[in-house]
Point group: C2
Chain length 332, copies 2
């Protein structure tokens, strides 16, 4: 598999992106195309050891900055690293693209360059989140701020195909995030969406409440991108705060230091379960190709894992599975 | 202070509500009026010790059930325990009402019987949540599912007055829950609300992201009731799941049993900080009187604390403070 990495994207690029690429090339059967300023990338690579032929550079003269507007980036920065990386996928020179840069610009560029799957109106970000049972897929995690019921219907189909194809979940339980389990509970958007999702030929289990998503009540949780992003961030902030509060409580206890030492391995394992860097990135579902969006704060480990995840998705040809599934389920 | 308790409301009523009333009467300077079926309440009280004159019964022949629709409850069950409890506040026979029953019916009844503060369009539920700094007030936590920008503007004023009056927070930092800190980030609702809140004479600190609310970035967090309820439930479910995951990890470690024993007091203290039953109930702000909504699963401790919180709010005359503040700030 050949993955095009936006080597200039992310808070610690290009040092950390290059480092992640080297780790991925050493560990997995992946070829990484580093896309970005040739001089800067050659400098980051110099003196480093990596498998010959598994890392190459594709020059791009511009970089989308965090303060750039996504639409402006598309119009004005035609030679940006993220644009070039995604164009390599379009041309067939790469199987997937990964970027830890400006996520809005990455989404807009992926949509512009690769286009949408025919029966999809709006692509969605699908994020894997931990639960007591293992994990669930939350979508949309932030691509679409204001949604229509039809968008949520399509998210449910895309999430279903994604969970089945990539994670091998049989007959995934697809649920709609709402404020009560009863069919009639929800806001205007979810109540209308409920009616559209119910007749679909998927295992729709109805509404799910916020407290139940982490208990493992569903494999796919559908919501609009505004709420999805808030849920994602609330979970991130709360998990971090709880660990801090627990540490503080343990330190306060009579058995302080010893208690902390005992807790440490548990926290480490727990962090591993909940750490975004373990899977490294979230795919943009609904576009004609594989494109992963990584956290701006990605470490080299996160980049390495994003490259692995991207190669898996390319191998599963996720976008084709989604397209087939949508065509099939739409008609049913 | 005299508090009217809907003694028939809640999953474990009337045993647990009566128990909570007895505990409150013993511990605080509070008179509790148990509202509900006289026979059932006398039976629950019989053989129990409680301070003479601090517990009385006010008969109500009906009970709103969880499956009742709120609007139907108002029209058809005119002698329900929750209705009678709130009517005692209206008549001046009680200073506040508390119910752990059907929350939708409690809200609707409070609105119907007590009416709104003049400059408020929609009352909101204000919930106290823990943060690393201490706590913050989240509103609306579920009273209004679909909101207009003007509602969010009023929530910010009510939250501001509430944090100041009841919790003594000086110049509370009021923030709008959104998906980015920049002024322009948000959905259609929050972007419009932002423009309405910004000119108000309060310490509006702009948008706040989900991950920052638990770090203590704001004293008052404003959002619509759909998102507020999801955030509340996500936090509840995630906190519980994290503790379960940590326990599992600790048990797995070589030092298993010992580690768990060490962790136990920390978890207990942590739970105390995050336990809804510590404050017992959330007030409905914006109505002409004091009415607290408690969790359906309320224990006697939660009821006891809700009665204490209600008496504090009545002492602060929260509704009058909100009314004054809204009149003042609206004009500024």
């Amino acid at each position: 598999m050949k993955i095009a990495l936006d080597a200039m994207g992310g808070d610690y690029a290009p040092e950390v992106t290059v480092e992640g690429a080297i780790e991925a090339a050493a560990e997995y059967d992946i070829e990484v195309i580093l896309v970005g300023n040739r001089d800067a990338l050659e400098e980051s690579l110099s003196g480093k050891k990596y498998p010959a032929g598994r890392i190459s550079i594709h020059h791009a003269s511009e970089v989308v900055m965090m303060e750039d507007q996504a639409s402006v980036a598309i119009r004005k920065k035609k030679d940006s690293s993220v644009r070039k990386a995604i164009e390599l996928v379009k041309e067939g020179a790469a199987d997937a693209a990964v970027s830890a840069g400006h996520s809005g610009a990455t989404m807009a560029t992926a949509l512009y360059v690769l286009g949408k799957i025919e029966s999809v109106d709006r692509p969605a970000i699908a994020t894997k989140m931990p639960s007591l049972e293992g994990f669930f897929i939350l979508l949309d995690a932030g691509a679409n701020i204001d949604c229509k019921p039809e968008n949520l219907r399509q998210f449910s189909l895309m999430g279903n195909a994604y969970a089945e194809t990539v994670y091998g979940v049989k007959n995934p339980r697809v649920a709609l995030l709402s404020i009560g389990e009863e069919d009639t509970k929800g806001n205007e958007l979810t109540k209308e969406a409920f009616k559209l999702i119910k007749p679909l030929d998927i295992n729709f289990t109805g509404n799910i409440e916020g407290k139940d998503i982490f208990y493992g009540g569903a494999d796919v949780v559908v919501c609009d991108g505004f709420i999805g992003n808030i849920v994602l961030k609330v979970a991130e902030g709360l998990a971090e705060s709880i660990i801090k509060m627990l540490k503080r409580e343990v330190a306060r206890a009579a058995t302080g230091r010893l208690g902390y030492l005992m807790l440490k391995p548990a926290i480490k394992n727990f962090r591993k379960q909940t750490d975004y860097s373990e899977h490294g990135g979230a795919p943009l579902l609904g576009i004609n190709g594989v494109c992963l969006i990584s956290h701006g704060r990605s470490t080299s480990k996160a980049i390495k894992n994003a490259l692995r995840t991207a190669s898996e998705m390319a191998a599963y040809r996720v976008h084709e599975a989604i397209s087939r599934s949508l065509d099939l389920k739409q008609k049913s």
